[in-house]
Amino acid sequence: MTVPLAIVGGLAGLAASVAVAAGIAVALLLAGVLCERFLARRVAAWGYAERKDDLLVRRGVLIRRQSVIPYGRMQFIDVTAGPVERSLGLATLRMHTAAAASDARIPGLDNTVAGTLRDQLAALGEAQAAGL
């Protein structure tokens, strides 16, 4: 993604001069590499673990967060897929508790994985459901 973008940028810069074109290409290349590293770290930081009684969701690079959501506290579970996600066969799973602040989101799950995880979590939630 980065290399073609840099080449296109460089070609566009040729209209001015060779030096400008080279500058644009190098700048785009650097920016792209940085972005990719950033995104890769961000994606790598997402993680979740199904434990015996609760779900652990971890995320964030700069600000790191870990959430523990007991299965019994889940009110409902969403699986959403935006147009980009759909084209890549991915989906985002989101768990809701009665507390507005508890955010547990697992993005970029494979479509089928998201579906099975949702059913699994729903079953666990039903088994351990607790009142308010």
């Binding site: 009684d53 600000i63 870990q66 959430s67 007991p70 009665a98 507390a99 507005a100 602040a101 308010l132």
Partner: protein, 483 residues
């Protein structure tokens, strides 16, 4: 689940749209001592005939003011205008009257059912076992007419999920509230058939919570102190500064026209302060069998029951200036929807059990709300002072197997107690500065209005330990509470 077909109504009590079949109008006749006004199940009731007037009250007042203003502005053709004015008023009232005509409610099998709507019928059921609290609210006009509104609070969601019965006669409303709460209690115990008979078992006169009997007053706010406290609170101080600034500018320039554009800001600040005073005036807390009865309000009065098992969090707030006088504020969070007329700022605020009181009042009240609570005695490590220099001196937490307490706040000290069985999720957060200093925070979320007990800036290892142990402790507390 929703509405039955008109023909299939059970026991032929009535059908939607079949208005004359309604047997009883609470409030139209003298209260019959023998016949229970509301206990007879599966009877459709109607709201008080004056309720359209009450619900249209504020709108009507605004319209009347505008119309009067117009009429005064051009006094000449008053005769012709009067007719059109009356038509406008009638149209406003007609909507309310139609709404009243098509609204009915019923209590049966532990379910409150409210049917309303002319074109789009809307039938709602509120299983009483799900009800978190029931409030009796009286607006100014309703108070003059002796009416009251009943509001049911259901956990989660917004106010549209809660039920409203506006308006009933005041005595009926309070009576009905006691009955519904009794039924809710019976339904929760699990005896569903008993729920229907519970209200008739409770004598009509004995359960009213005005009757002294076993009810005990434990707190009453002092009006003078409340006025002082509101003026010294942040909103009050801001209002004072705004007004002082407006007056000085006007006096210095000698032209009052300069400040005219800023008047709405001053008015808003004053109104905010007034609203707080109005809402919290005369707060009294009474210990009754079914929990704490909280009554407050100057013009609009609210009666609310806080059931002991429904408290999600208790928060003690001590603003800077108040600490000089030894005052504090005690708030509770009961899971409930946001009322639709509350704005965002108000929704964030919790219900004040003690709007302002001494530490002793607060201690006494907390003894009623929580049993053997821990104090935030575990201070934050010294390095935390680098990350939160203004907050460091208030940071602390403690926990046992029932409660977790965390304190924080920069100028205003806030201490939050959360019962472990109410914890919805546990979050561990570490920002970049915290990572450098080897710190982390843990937040405990509870249901309701974005309240969390935040254990801020703990040692990394300690925070990890909290995150590891709290879910287990919370689960143990939950299973203990379920038993």
């Amino acid at each position: 689940m929703t509405s039955e077909s008109p023909a299939g109504a059970p026991d032929g009590s009535s059908r939607p749209g079949d208005l004359p079949a309604i047997d009883h109008f609470p409030g139209t006749g003298p209260p019959d001592a023998g016949a229970e006004p509301v206990a007879a199940t599966a009877v459709w009731h109607r709201l008080h005939p004056l309720s359209p007037l009450v619900s249209a009250g504020p709108r009507l007042a605004a319209i009347v003011v505008v119309l009067l203003g117009i009429a005064l502005a051009r006094q000449r053709q008053a005769g012709g205008d009067l007719v059109s004015d009356l038509v406008i008023v009638a149209i406003v009232l007609a909507g309310g009257v139609i709404r009243w005509l098509v609204t009915r409610w019923q209590v049966a099998d532990g379910v409150l059912r409210v049917d309303t709507g002319l074109l789009r019928r809307d039938s709602r059921r509120f299983p009483l076992s799900q009800v978190q609290a029931i409030d009796v609210v009286q607006t100014g006009l309703a108070r003059v007419l002796g009416l009251a509104e009943l509001r049911l609070r259901v956990a989660g969601g917004d106010a549209s999920r809660g039920g409203r019965l506006a308006c009933l006669r005041r005595a009926d409303a309070e009576h009905l509230r006691v009955q519904l709460l009794a039924m809710a209690g019976a339904a929760r115990v699990g005896a569903v058939p008993a729920a229907a008979s519970a209200p008739s078992a409770a004598p009509a006169s004995g359960v009213r919570h005005e009757t002294p009997g076993h009810d005990r007053l434990i707190f009453r706010v002092r009006p003078g102190r409340l006025a002082g406290a509101v003026l010294l609170s942040r909103a009050g101080v801001v209002a004072g500064i705004v007004i002082a600034a407006l007056i000085t500018v006007a006096a210095l320039t000698g032209q009052s026209a300069i400040v005219a554009p800023f008047l709405p800001i001053g008015l808003g600040a004053v109104l905010g302060t007034w609203r707080q005073f109005n809402g919290e005036f005369g707060t009294t807390v009474v210990v009754a069998e079914d929990g704490l009865h909280l009554r407050s309000g100057l013009i609009q009065t609210t009666v609310e029951t806080i059931r002991p098992g429904r408290v999600q969090a208790v928060r003690l707030v001590e603003p800077l200036v108040w600490r000089v006088f030894g005052w504090c504020r005690l708030e509770v969070d009961v899971a409930g929807p946001r009322q639709h007329h509350e704005n965002r700022g108000e929704a964030q605020r919790l219900r004040a059990v003690i709007p302002v009181g001494t530490r002793l009042d607060a201690e006494q009240m907390m003894g009623k709300l929580l049993e053997a609570r821990p104090l935030p005695s575990l201070r934050a490590p010294r390095v935390a002072a680098w990350k939160a220099p203004l907050m460091y001196h208030f940071l602390g937490w403690h926990g046992d197997e029932r409660y977790v307490v965390a304190s924080g706040g920069r100028v205003c000290r806030k201490t939050t107690w959360v019962p472990l069985e109410k914890v919805q999720s546990v979050r561990w957060v570490q920002g970049p500065v915290q990572r450098r200093l080897g710190l982390a925070s843990v937040h405990l979320d509870v249901a309701g209005r974005r309240v969390a007990a935040s254990i801020r800036d703990r040692d990394d290892a300690e925070a990890g330990q909290i995150l590891g142990r709290l879910p287990d402790l919370a689960r143990a507390a939950r299973s203990r509470a379920a038993r």
